[in-house]
Each structure stands twice: as structure tokens, then as C-alpha cells.
């Protein structure tokens, strides 16, 4: 961009770009991101053809069932992130909120609160409260003390995980095993398959997503949220309860993440373990980012990331590729899609 030379690149800001061209740029960036990921996997010793085989294998039988089970918590964390991002609250405490969701649900199970018939519902409600509470801490810190929520939520993740460790290596450890895990839940405390291999966790996720879709697109609160995000000062002047909208969004976001923790422990693990919330922060951010914070698209992207998770697990088992690979691919996809924004908004010209 030097001014002195005659021929040079010039950057123009585009006034507008038709929708199909925007989609084209987005698709191209996804292709680039996935190509880089495949190249890295290739360098790590996985032939692209074998990779294609593994990926195709994910869509049949047991694997697909696994994907659908995995999709539920991912949809819920993606929803949690997207709700908070809608009002400009960077909720990066999804892992901590999942941990507390699991702990609260586990507490209901361990202390046998309520009759067996309603136990699972109590566990879900408790998990939502646990997640909401942990997210509200960061929300209050931001509103009351102007503590940056990015730092606060990230640090609270570590606090939550160490609290979980304290329970699992102490009061809640299963006396029958030496492992850091709680006693298994009773059968009526678990989310079971509904007929055709579709887990009840997915039903929970879809109900919550539909409710959130209604909240955002059709309710007054959804309208307020858009207002608060666009211009909080203006919203305040016009009588929008900015503080209440912010806090309630934070609470709902945390509740969704808490439910994700509940779904994970009640469907996949069946007990509290050390790692039921591992790797969900960035997955949530990624899902929210790719779905442009729209709940319905969150469901679709959540399913695709579940495919990525299950493929990652397969690669871990059969090729000894560590699961952090999934995180690497997620980061590459976010980077390439975020970069596509530049090409959508700018045009590069070469002047001779």
C-alpha cells in the first residue's frame, strides 16, 4: 500500500454485496479452512482418503446415534454463547457453567431429592439454576464493578473445575472405585433413548432451542436485546430496562450451559466425571459465531460440530491423534470464516 509507487494495490470499501455472493465468500472460506485442517491431519499421518472413509462411517448406525447424543450438549452451549453474544456479553464461562450444571444435577441425584418419578426433572431444573448462578456472578461483576466479563468468565471456569475436583476427589467420590468420579446415577436419573436411538437429551436441546427462537424472534425481550446490543445508551433513554435485559440474558445463557452439563452427565456419562465439560468453551463460541447467533442455525451447526467431535474421537482411538485436534480444526474454521468478512466488506484492486 505504498503511496509512492505508481502501480499498487488499492482497497475499496464495498457499499453492498448481494446475498448470494456473500454466501459464496462464506462457502469458499469454509472450504479453505477445511482444506487446511485436512492438510494438517495429513501431516499428522492420516491419509485424506482414510479420513473421508472415517467421516462417512460417522453417518451410519451406532456412530450416528453417538453424533445425535453428542449434538445435544453442543447445541445447548452454542445457544448459551449466542444468547449472550446477542447483547455483547462475551460469555466464555460455558465450561464453568456446564460444570456447575452437572454438580447441581449430581447433587439432586446424590442426596436423593424428590420422588423418583420427578427426579430427572428436578435434576434438569437444578442444573439450569447452577449454570445460571455461575454466569450471574460474572454478570454482576460486570454491571456492579465493571469487571471485564471475558476475563471473569474465563477465570471462573478454572474455579468451577477445581471445585468439581474437590468434590470428586473428596466428598462425592464413588467409594467402590479409586477413580475421581461420583457414584453412578440410578436408571431413572438418566436420559434414555426415545425409540429410534434418538436420545432424550436431543429432545431437551430442541425444546430449549425452539423456546429461544421464539424469545429472540417474536417476543418483546428479543426486541429489547437487539436494542441493547445496538446502542445501550439510546435504549436506556427510550425506557428499555437495559440492566434487567442484560442480567436476564446472562441468566438464561448460563441456564442453557448448565442444561448442557446436565445432558452430558445424564445421557453420556451417567455420573459426574472430571472431564464432562472439557473442550466446550470454544465449541460454543464457534457454533454461535458460525450461526450468526440465530438459535435455529445453532441446531444445524451444533449437529455438524458433533460430527467433528465423533470423528475426533474415532481418530483418537484408531490413529492416536489427540483430541485437541478438534480444537485446532475449530480454531482454523473460525479464523477462515472471520477472514471472509474482510473480502465481503472490501474489494482489492490492482492499479497499474
Amino acid at each position: 500500500m505504498s503511496q509512492s509507487s505508481r502501480s499498487r494495490f488499492v482497497l475499496d470499501v464495498r457499499q453492498s454485496l448481494p446475498g448470494w455472493k456473500q454466501s459464496l465468500f462464506l462457502a469458499a472460506s469454509l472450504v479453505v479452512g477445511l482444506a487446511i485442517s485436512v492438510a494438517i491431519l495429513w501431516a499428522a499421518g492420516i491419509d485424506p482418503i482414510e479420513l473421508a472413509g472415517e467421516l462417512a462411517g460417522v453417518f451410519n448406525g451406532d456412530s450416528l446415534r453417538g453424533v445425535l447424543v453428542q449434538a445435544a450438549p453442543l447445541m445447548l452451549v452454542g445457544l448459551a454463547a449466542s444468547l449472550a453474544f446477542r447483547i455483547g456479553f462475551w460469555n466464555l464461562g460455558l465450561e464453568g457453567q456446564m460444570v456447575f450444571g452437572g454438580i447441581f444435577a449430581g447433587g439432586v441425584s446424590i442426596y436423593e431429592i424428590g420422588p423418583p418419578e420427578t427426579r430427572i426433572f428436578l435434576m434438569a431444573v437444578a442444573a439450569a439454576i447452577g449454570g445460571a448462578m455461575w454466569c450471574l456472578v460474572a454478570g454482576l461483576l460486570k454491571i456492579r464493578f465493571r469487571v471485564n466479563e471475558i476475563i471473569a468468565t474465563l477465570l471462573l471456569n478454572y474455579v468451577a473445575v477445581y471445585f468439581l475436583f474437590d468434590l470428586l476427589y473428596g466428598a462425592w467420590q464413588d467409594a467402590k472405585t479409586a477413580f475421581p468420579q461420583s457414584t453412578p446415577f440410578q436408571p431413572f436419573e438418566r436420559l434414555h433413548d426415545l425409540g429410534d436411538g434418538v436420545n432424550a437429551g436431543l429432545l431437551v436441546a430442541i425444546i430449549v432451542i425452539l423456546a429461544a427462537g421464539w424469545l429472540i424472534h417474536f417476543s418483546r425481550v428479543g426486541f429489547y436485546m437487539r436494542f441493547v446490543n445496538a446502542n445501550p445508551n439510546m435504549a436506556k433513554v427510550l425506557g428499555v430496562p437495559v440492566r434487567a435485559v442484560t442480567l436476564w440474558t446472562v441468566v438464561i445463557s448460563g441456564a442453557c450451559a448448565g442444561l448442557a452439563g446436565f445432558v452430558n452427565v445424564a445421557s453420556q456419562e451417567g455420573r459426574l466425571t472430571e472431564s464432562y465439560a472439557d473442550g466446550y468453551v470454544f465449541s460454543g463460541v464457534l457454533i454461535a459465531f458460525l450461526s450468526r447467533n440465530d438459535p435455529i442455525i445453532v441446531a444445524v451447526v451444533g449437529f455438524l460440530i458433533a460430527v467433528l467431535f465423533i470423528t475426533g474421537q474415532t481418530l483418537q482411538v484408531f490413529y492416536q491423534i489427540p483430541f485437541t485436534m478438534v480444537q485446532l480444526i475449530e480454531a482454523i474454521i473460525v479464523m477462515s470464516v472471520a477472514s471472509s468478512e474482510f473480502f465481503i466488506r472490501h474489494r482489492i484492486r490492482w492499479i497499474r
Binding site: M1, L11, D12, V13, I40, A44, G45, W90, L92, L141, F145, R146, V147, N148, I150, I151, A152, L154, L155, L156, N157, Y158, V159, Y162, F163, F165, D166, Y169, G170, F282, V285, F289, Q320, I321, P322, F323, T324, M325, V326, Q327, L328, I329, E330, A331, I332, V334, M335, A338, S339, E341, F342, H346
Partner: protein, 311 residues
């Protein structure tokens, strides 16, 4: 009691150095107007490179630390490209860089089989006769070379940012990129430079943790220290010296944890490990309660500069 305090404070500089160096690196890049959340990831890159170099060369910790700086600097160019050239949202770019680094270091560390391999590391210096002074000698004159080097780096960076042409240009780019641009200072160039230079210090911080302190590589071994460094920058109001004092404070807090257990005091281990994070949050509350809004942060922090969109 004296023994307890001596042992504790003698360990504090070692735990403080990563915080200090990472915070200083972040300060350099944030002074140029780039909101930098990458510390946690780049520290991992530095830590892995340090151990990897030591294992490959069978020793040479100093070379390993230089390699750690270079590697973090190289990876930071990816972040620089995203935020400076492509003008990606700096929070999204920073977060994805962190998770990129977490994924990459986990992958390479496992595939290269560098996990849990003990290395020689850097010895503590023995500055006779100073080291033989009771209490004080143990705390001040029996540290490793990097502890003293950190103080030198702080003096140099402080001078560089406040008194050299380059430092002033970097700060002007961070305060008002449009004005700097009009004065003929290349915003993009100075921001990339600030990110790369700052990241080399972050890499050194990571390399210090693995090569000097822990002496091995474990996936995700920085354990949130990078995020604490980000908080430290806010606490220090983007000034080098307060960052050093803040780092010492956190070093003291973190260093006390193993000594309490070693002294035979029965406390829940995992609850104790929360303290650095809770202390950081407490410090952030204190900052929020006492500082004016945006009182001392660089004027253009977090804003991409787009000449074609200038108002």
C-alpha cells in the same frame, strides 16, 4: 516461621516471572491499539518449543528459551495478520489464536512424544558471597538468570516505549491511528511489529515455565496464567512497572500454595488451587471500584484502523 517465609519468598520470583514477562509482552502490543488475548496460547507455544528444543538438542536451555521466543513470535504473526491486515474482530481473533495454539501444542506434543519427559533446565545462580547472607541471600541472590534478566527487560522496554522514536510511534498508533497515519506513520507496520515483539516476551514467559520452572511439558500446562496476565495488564493500567509489582503479588500468592501443604497445614488441595484465579477476580473488582472509566487505556484499543473508512 522464618524458614517458611524464606522458602516461600525465595520461590515467589520464579512464579512471578511468567506473569511479568507475559504482561509486559501484552502491554507492548496493547499500547499499539491491539486488544491482545493471545497470551494463554502463545505461552503454550513457548513452553512446548522450549521443552522440544531441549529434548532434541539434549540440553542447551538458553537456546531453548530463544527458540521459544522465536516460535511465539512466528505464531503471533498469524494473529497479527488476522487483526491488522484482515481487520477481524480482535476478541474473536485472539480467542481463536489461543485455541489454535492449545490444539496445535497438544497435537505436536503428543505426536513428537515430548509429553512428561524430564529435562535438565536452568540452574539457580550462586552469587557468592551474596547468596550466603541469611534470609536475604536466599530470596534475592539465589535465583536463576532469567529472574535478573526480567528486571533488565523491564528497564529496557520501559525506556524503549517512553523514550525512543519507535516506542513513541507504537504508542501514537495505539492512541490515535488516524492521526498517526496522517503523520506518515504506518499503522499496520507498527502494530505488527508491536505484536511480534510483545509475543516474543510471552513466548519467553511460556518457555520459562516449562524449561526453567517445571522442567517438562504437559498438555495445557500454563493453566490459565495467560488469562491472569491479561487481567494484570488492566490492573497495571498498561504501564510496565505496575505490571511487575502485580506479577510479584501473584507470584507470592501462587508460591504460597505448595508451601502451605509442605508445612503440614491441612487444607483442601483443590480449593487452594483456586486462589490465583479468585485473587485475580478480587484485583479486577478493586480496579473496577477505584479506576475511572477508560482512564488509562490506549485510546484506540480494540479498534481496527481502516484508512478508507476514516471519518
Amino acid at each position: 516461621m522464618i524458614a517458611f517465609i524464606t522458602n516461600w519468598l525465595a520461590d515467589a520470583p520464579t512464579t512471578a516471572v511468567p506473569y511479568a514477562l507475559a504482561a509486559l509482552g501484552l502491554i507492548i502490543s496493547e499500547r499499539s491499539g491491539v486488544l491482545n488475548l493471545t497470551a494463554e496460547g502463545l505461552m503454550l507455544v513457548g513452553a512446548l518449543t522450549g521443552v522440544g528444543t531441549c529434548l532434541t538438542l539434549d540440553g542447551y536451555p538458553v537456546v531453548a528459551l530463544i527458540a521459544a521466543m522465536a516460535a511465539a513470535s512466528c505464531v503471533s504473526l498469524l494473529f497479527a495478520g488476522l487483526v491488522v491486515v484482515l481487520r477481524v474482530n480482535q476478541v474473536i481473533a485472539g480467542l481463536s489464536t489461543v485455541f489454535f495454539c492449545q490444539g496445535l501444542t497438544g497435537l505436536i506434543g503428543t505426536l513428537a512424544n515430548w509429553q512428561n519427559k524430564h529435562i535438565e533446565g536452568l540452574p539457580r545462580l550462586d552469587l557468592w558471597p551474596l547468596s550466603d547472607i541469611p534470609v536475604i541471600g536466599r530470596i534475592f541472590f539465589m535465583q536463576d538468570a532469567i529472574v535478573y534478566l526480567t528486571i533488565v527487560i523491564f528497564i529496557l522496554v520501559n525506556w524503549w516505549l517512553s523514550s525512543t522514536m519507535m516506542g513513541l510511534r507504537i504508542r501514537s498508533v495505539g492512541e490515535s491511528p488516524a492521526a498517526a497515519d496522517a503523520a506518515g506513520i504506518s499503522v499496520a507496520l507498527h502494530r505488527v511489529l508491536a505484536i511480534a515483539l510483545g509475543s516474543s516476551l510471552i513466548g519467553l514467559a511460556g518457555g520459562y515455565i516449562s524449561v526453567v520452572n517445571v522442567k517438562l511439558w504437559v498438555t495445557g500446562m500454563t493453566g490459565g496464567r495467560g488469562w491472569i496476565a491479561v487481567a494484570l495488564v488492566v490492573f497495571a493500567r498498561w504501564a510496565p512497572w505496575p505490571a511487575l509489582w502485580g506479577a510479584l503479588l501473584f507470584g507470592c500468592i501462587e508460591a504460597v500454595i505448595p508451601h502451605i501443604a509442605a508445612a503440614g497445614i491441612r487444607v483442601p488441595q483443590y480449593l487452594m488451587m483456586m486462589t490465583p484465579y479468585l485473587a485475580t477476580i478480587a484485583v479486577m473488582i478493586w480496579v473496577g471500584a477505584t479506576q475511572r472509566v477508560g482512564g488509562s487505556e490506549p485510546g484506540a484499543l480494540g479498534q481496527p484502523h481502516v484508512r478508507e473508512e476514516r471519518r
